[in-house]
Structures are given as structure tokens and as C-alpha cells.
């Protein structure tokens, strides 16, 4: 019969593992999506079975551009969240200073 705190520790570890599981799966899916996108964007002819120099350059630019796009979206999202949190805090302050 386990002590309660040991059981809770095991639960927490199971949760942490499950969340990490979701994170790894999402990161693998995200890479597959990028590679697919850059293939669709950059490769349109099939006269040979090797990537041309032009297709390789396009693929490299496509990948780098999407990576920088991801960074910008993350930055913009965090700023929006801060704005929303700041405006929600301001609204709360106004409500608290009004009861008369």
C-alpha cells in the first residue's frame, strides 16, 4: 500500500512524461510539415530523380524563411498575450475603484 505522496509523485512523473510525449510528437509533425511544404513549393519538374541546384537553394530559403516566420509569430503571440493581460488587469482595477 503506497504512501499518498509517493503515489502523487508517480502521477506527476506520468503527467510530465505525457506532456513531453506530446511535445516530441508535435515537433516531429512540425518538421514533416515544413519538409512537405518546401517540396511542394520548390519541386515541380521530374525530368531527373535528383534535386537541381536551383531546387536545393529554394529548399534552403524556404526552410530558413519558415523558421524565421515561426520565431516572429512566437514573438508577436507573446506580445499580444501581454497586451491582453495588461488590459484585463486595467479593467479589473477600474471595476475595483468604482463601487459607490
Amino acid at each position: 500500500m503506497e504512501f499518498a505522496y509517493l503515489q502523487s509523485q508517480r502521477e506527476q512523473q506520468a503527467v510530465a512524461e505525457h506532456l513531453q510525449n506530446l511535445e516530441v510528437r508535435e515537433s516531429l509533425r512540425s518538421f514533416n510539415s515544413l519538409a512537405d511544404r518546401c517540396f511542394a513549393r520548390c519541386v515541380s519538374s521530374f525530368r531527373t530523380n535528383k534535386l537541381s541546384q536551383e531546387e536545393k537553394q529554394c529548399g534552403a530559403m524556404c526552410a530558413e524563411k519558415f523558421f524565421k516566420h515561426q520565431q516572429r509569430v512566437m514573438k508577436a503571440y507573446l506580445e499580444e498575450q501581454q497586451k491582453l493581460a495588461a488590459s484585463a488587469a486595467q479593467q479589473q482595477q477600474q471595476q475595483q475603484s468604482q463601487p459607490q
Partner: protein, 104 residues
Amino acid sequence: MFSSNRAAAQAAPSGPSASLREAEYQILAFTDMYNRMLDSCHDKCISAKLADGDLHVGEAVCIDRCVAKFLAMQQHVSEKMTAVQKQMQQSAEAAQAAATGLKS
């Protein structure tokens, strides 16, 4: 998102594993929303012709505004869906009251 939280809250009974499940709902729903925003703003802001691997100034500004408008549309659609469903519920209750009134 009010709509998501309400759906998640309705489903989760009390208890430790229930709060884990609710956290999982929110992580999955957030990841889905975030990926859609990522793809939609890429489609709308990143030019099809790739000249280089860096973002142009125009692309960067577009992304900032696209993120803001995507989140605003999420909120707007959530409010509209809540209103539409409330209206439906009220119509159904009014119809039921009318039907009960007719029977007596």
C-alpha cells in the same frame, strides 16, 4: 477561448485525473490553434517567390498584424457562436412552451 473552456469544463468531473485531463484538452486545443495561426499567417504574409531566407520588413509587420487579427477573429467567432447557440436554445424553449400551452 470561452467556447473551449466551457466545453472542457462541462466534460471534466472533479478529481486529480480530471484536472490532468482538462489540462490535456487545453494543451491540445492550444497547439491546434497555434499551428493554424502559423500556417494561415504564412499563407497570407510570406510571398510565394523566395528571394532569400530572411524576412522582409513588410513580411515581419504583416506577421505581427496577422497574429493580432487571427486572435481577434477567434474571440469574435467564439462570441458569435455563443450568441447563435443561445438564440437556438431560446427558440426551442419558446416552441416547447407554445406546444405545452396548446395541449392544455
